[in-house]
């Protein structure tokens, strides 16, 4: 099991992911974008109960802080807070 899946597995309950099934049966496709500004890889995580990815994990290729991903998190949280219950079409 790769490091990202291990993290998700260990934090399954804390992250409120129980609805996606058994954390022991996770698998992932690794997307490795090659456009010039791409500094991250993306893991699309599949659970045993779904045939489409249930999670997307972005991991910086290099160690250290990643201001752009922190900014993305902030924007997504901001959008979700605009309406009670958030927006289903926007990543949570």
């Amino acid at each position: 099991m790769n490091a990202a899946l291990k993290f998700v597995n260990e934090n399954w309950v804390r992250l409120g992911l129980e609805r996606f099934g058994d954390p022991q049966k996770l698998t992932s496709v690794l997307l490795t974008p090659r456009f010039q500004a791409s500094s991250r890889v993306i893991l699309l995580v599949f659970s045993d109960s779904k045939s489409v990815p249930v999670l997307a994990i972005k991991v910086p290729r290099l160690e250290g802080s990643d201001p752009s991903i922190e900014s993305e998190v902030s924007v997504l949280q901001n959008i979700q807070s605009k309406r009670p219950g958030g927006f289903s079409s926007v990543p949570k």
Partner: protein, 228 residues
């Protein structure tokens, strides 16, 4: 050093005098570009590469990335392995699908460490041999994923995974586990056309029949050695 392959054991230590081994000498964009060749490290239990050894790796960009992002890199030849020394590497990277090479490489992995192999599907290997060796098919191996799994299992390796690198190792944009669900998704990949569905169906069927690995041009294997 990297260009002189094959060579007998060479250890490139980051703390040594090698100018090219220091990340601070590279601009960020170039560092990112180099790191792309070893995106496969995110498949490991720990993507931070420690003490790494290579066997049969000839791709210069791969070696350059490994040198830059590992604690130390040793480029070994089969002569080194024949000596039967104990090595104890965190990661052993091998290129090719020779069973004997894999058997030797497994001894070099420390308990808790990983073996990473890059190889070619049968038809890709056949084409490469025809192109590079003037039509000879010497050295062509016909091992399936089950053969590798059995061999590594016997050597005390667990968590054995196979991945399809699309479109190839150097320009890879997707690393797909050779499993039913992910193969299905990879063939469909956000497309719902009849053609995509048919491709997906055929892909999964080939996977179940054990034939997909023969058709997948570039695949890798990761296995963890028990003991930690």
């Amino acid at each position: 050093v990297i260009n002189d392959i094959p060579i007998t054991q060479v250890n490139i230590d980051k703390g040594g005098q090698e100018h090219v081994g220091r990340k601070e000498n590279y601009p960020f964009s170039e560092l990112i570009h180099i790191a792309r060749r070893i995106d496969w490290r995110f498949l490991l239990p720990n993507p931070a590469l420690g003490k790494v050894a290579c066997l049969g790796v000839k791709d210069r960009s791969h070696l350059e990335a490994l040198q830059l992002f590992s604690q130390s890199l040793s480029i070994l030849s089969e002569v080194d392995l024949d000596r039967g020394d104990e090595f104890g590497y965190d990661i052993v990277v091998i290129s090719g699908s020779d069973i004997k090479g894999i058997q030797k490489a497994t001894d070099m992995v420390k308990p808790g460490g990983c073996l990473y192999m890059e190889s070619f599907g049968y038809f890709n290997q056949l084409l490469r041999n025809l192109k590079n060796d003037g039509g000879r098919i010497n050295g062509l191996h016909l091992y399936g994923l089950r053969d590798y799994s059995r061999l590594l299992g016997e050597q005390g390796f667990t968590d054995i995974q196979f991945h399809w690198h699309w479109p190839n190792f150097r320009e890879c944009t997707k690393i797909i586990p050779l499993e039913d669900k992910t193969v299905q998704y990879a063939f469909l990949y956000a497309r719902r056309s009849i053609k995509a569905r048919l491709r997906s169906l055929i892909g999964r069927l080939l996977l179940r029949l054990g034939l997909l690995e023969s058709l997948v041009p570039h695949f890798s294997m990761i296995a963890k050695r028990e003991g930690e």
